[in-house]
Amino acid sequence: MKKATLILALLVTGATITAQKRTITSGIIKFDATTSQDALPRAENKTVIAAIDPKSGGIAFEAIIKSFSFANPMMQGHFNSINWLDSDKFPIATFKGKITNLAAVNFSKEGIYPAEVTGDLTLHGIVKPLTAKGTVVIAGKSIALTSAFTIKVEDYGISGKAIEAGKVNKEPKISVAVNFN
């Protein structure tokens, strides 16, 4: 009897934890490093894995670098090449962090909440702290998270002639849109 209660308790706890953490596999991250000289360095990745834990405010992302889809084959080649993101060696970018103003976001009440996220971005094999502002939209059961920020490519050991010549923005815009539906 005791054993059964324990198993039941474990099952219930397990179910609650699963219910708290939400994941999706079709998150969107867009990358825009275009300049007045060059409109080609931009891409989007529509198969990003994302997780959110409304209780702790924990947020995580995983994006395969080769999933960034460019219109121009040459630019996609540059992006993945050994000089830039070296995606053969570093195939995945990750972010692990949390919402720092969690008290201001009510996950159980419909609404639009400004959020701030802080964590570690791992890109090109280099880990750097990142803080970004974003928005959390609660509608029914869905949690939508959007954010736009810039990163410095030199922070992640990315350089090259095209970047120095001003053809590629040294601080590309990154936009994130995930909908835990």
């Binding site: 079709s26 395969i64 080769k66 999933s67 121009n72 040459m74 053969d88 195939p91």
Partner: protein, 149 residues
């Protein structure tokens, strides 16, 4: 004297041709766009479960073999996920490991006609796979996909 002039003219013509070809090549490289995947030949034809198990076995070897290749994948659609105004189709195995397909703009409409449980064949550019620490499963992603009809 006459032959000397002729030679000079020839060299000049050759230089102009080479320069034009160079400009043409640069122009081509900068304006080229990825073609319609449905018109491209597949490098590999596999089932979703076979592809997933190959990545599970050794994902660095599988990445070398499949990444940036055009692959035709056959399998049963286990879920359909909205992504912006488009959608992604997913084929998962019994353990939750999956392959996911993001469609080319001109093929989004045909993907929208697919239902969960449909057996389909998709052609796309494989972006490779990795182990997801978030999901604790292997996943393989595709871009620029088209439905094989």
């Amino acid at each position: 004297m006459e032959t000397g002039k002729f030679k000079k003219k020839n060299i000049l013509v050759a230089i102009v041709i080479v320069a034009l070809a160079g400009v043409g090549l640069v122009w081509y490289l900068f304006t080229e766009k990825f073609g319609d995947t449905s018109k491209e030949a597949a490098d590999f034809t596999v089932t979703a479960t076979a592809l997933i198990s190959e990545f599970k076995k050794n994902d660095s070897a599988a990445n070398k073999k499949f990444a940036e290749k055009i692959i035709t994948v056959t399998g049963i659609v286990t879920s359909i996920e909205p992504a912006d105004t488009a959608l992604n189709l997913k084929m998962a195995d019994s353990t939750g490991s999956y392959v996911i397909f993001a469609f080319q703009q001109q093929h989004i409409a045909e993907a929208k006609a697919i239902k969960q449980g449909d057996k389909i064949s998709v052609k796309g550019s494989c972006s490779g796979g990795a182990y997801s620490e978030i999901l604790e499963t292997e996943f393989v992603t595709f871009k620029r996909c088209a439905l094989n009809q």
